[in-house]
Symmetry: C2
């Protein structure tokens, strides 16, 4: 099977489940549910939720055990994009070829739809039948999304607009703004699979390196971030090295991690 087919098939599965979980379009007050769905069902690549499913699979768990965590992380990713697009942050009018949420609706509804997706993500996680799993997922995912994670990265990214950035600061932004949510996606898959601690750690390490490689490939495509500090070929070399380190963490899984290896290669090779 081609890895693109795997990605497409799992993304479709995640989308179907997100549709099932989210409040219906017409549920009162309809406008907020329309707004949430408009942003969730944009043309996303679903990399984070697919990583959740693939990590669970590497630990021997079927998709259905990891689906709720996968959707929850995609809701958090979507909320972060909605808030990032707002005028006080990136002030973007377009996202993936469509108007951003505050352009399609208005700023107030975009603010609230982001808040609602974040809140709903935790409601979904708390719905895991095993309360131990639910609590652990809420702990790990809230940390990854908080001020020592995604929000912290966003804060420093915003500050860096008004002052020069050096490489350590850029590393901090990337590790936190993008990296922590990708890392916790892989860890969440292992948690859903009730994998032993050493497998959880190995998948978190895989996700950590993968997240950094992902960001560098992004920067190469956009000419941003790391491209201020290195040439394209240096950046490419760094991304290859990080991808290798990510794969190194998968050694104990043997053939069971084949999909994760190929996902890492696909992320390295991806184009706009």
């Amino acid at each position: 099977m081609k890895i693109e087919d795997y990605l497409g098939r799992k993304a479709a599965r995640v989308e179907k489940e997100m549709d099932r979980l989210l409040p219906k379009l017409k549920a009162y007050p309809s406008i907020i549910h329309q707004a949430m769905r408009y942003s969730v069902f944009g043309d996303g690549k679903r990399i984070r939720p697919v990583l959740v499913l693939a990590a669970a699979e590497a630990c021997g768990a079927p998709d259905r055990r990891a689906l709720a965590a996968a959707c929850s992380i995609e809701f958090i990713h979507t909320y972060s994009l909605i808030h990032d697009d707002l005028p006080c942050l990136d002030n973007d009018n377009l996202r993936r070829g469509r108007p951003t949420l505050h352009k399609k609706f208005d700023e107030a509804q975009a603010l609230l739809a982001g808040d609602a997706l974040l809140t709903f993500a935790f409601e979904v996680l708390a719905g895991y039948r095993d309360p131990r799993m639910a609590a652990r997922l809420v702990t790990e995912i809230s940390r990854a999304a908080g001020t020592y994670g995604m929000i912290g990265g966003q804060v420093v990214d915003k500050l860096s607009e008004s002052q020069p950035v050096n490489l350590p600061v850029l590393d901090y932004i990337n590790v936190n703004k993008t990296g922590k949510l990708i890392r916790v996606s892989c860890l969440a898959g292992a948690i859903c699979a009730v994998a032993p601690v050493r497998s959880q750690r190995a998948l978190a390490t895989y996700g950590e390196y993968l997240g950094l490689a992902f960001q560098i490939v992004d920067d190469i495509m956009d000419g941003n971030g790391y491209m201020q500090f290195m040439s394209e070929s240096q950046a490419r070399t760094k991304a290859v090295e990080l991808t290798e380190k990510a794969k190194q963490a998968l050694v104990p899984f043997g053939r069971r991690a084949e999909i994760l290896r190929r996902l890492a290669d696909a992320i390295l090779a991806r184009k706009k």
Copy 2:
């Protein structure tokens, strides 16, 4: 003991615990932790967290069991005020005599500090040692704060600026925007106390009526909301009736609910 002294003593306990839980002021990135603390440590009355503690007490549990839930709900209340104050919603410059967060810092930091407090609230809840309690609290509190609760009320409140409101819509706004978080405060206290289901239900009912009475008293003081539909004496009568219904729900608790009865009276009698 005077009820004001009780409120003051418990509020101090909650503030001390919030200070202990929140990231330190200088923790990197410092600006977001400064922003979170600026808003949390405003001159709040701490009604919600005190209700959590008092409800737990009525079920025989000591403060320390309910403190984390109490702080978590106050973090969510604070986040909702920060986001409500933003220019795209109420555009307020002052809150309790101090500059609102986006005036003190800027809009971007206010947006992110609100996001961070919401995220952190769930991290705190997930930290309960009993995972069953943690998961239940996350479920109940996320629902109360979501689109079928506080956010839903805020959405309809915002829509009502541009179209005339009738009494059922105003009721919806109040039940959801203010009422659901007050209701879940009382329920959370019962959950932390591992109270039987019928006690949980009774305290949720108490909180439901109390939340509505609270909002009407607010409207009487501000001349807003319900005052469009009734005279001050009609509104006062309605608040008294709701307070009586709230107390009715406490009958099974006998003397153990004395504090909750007096809190209801204090809320009814409160002045600006």
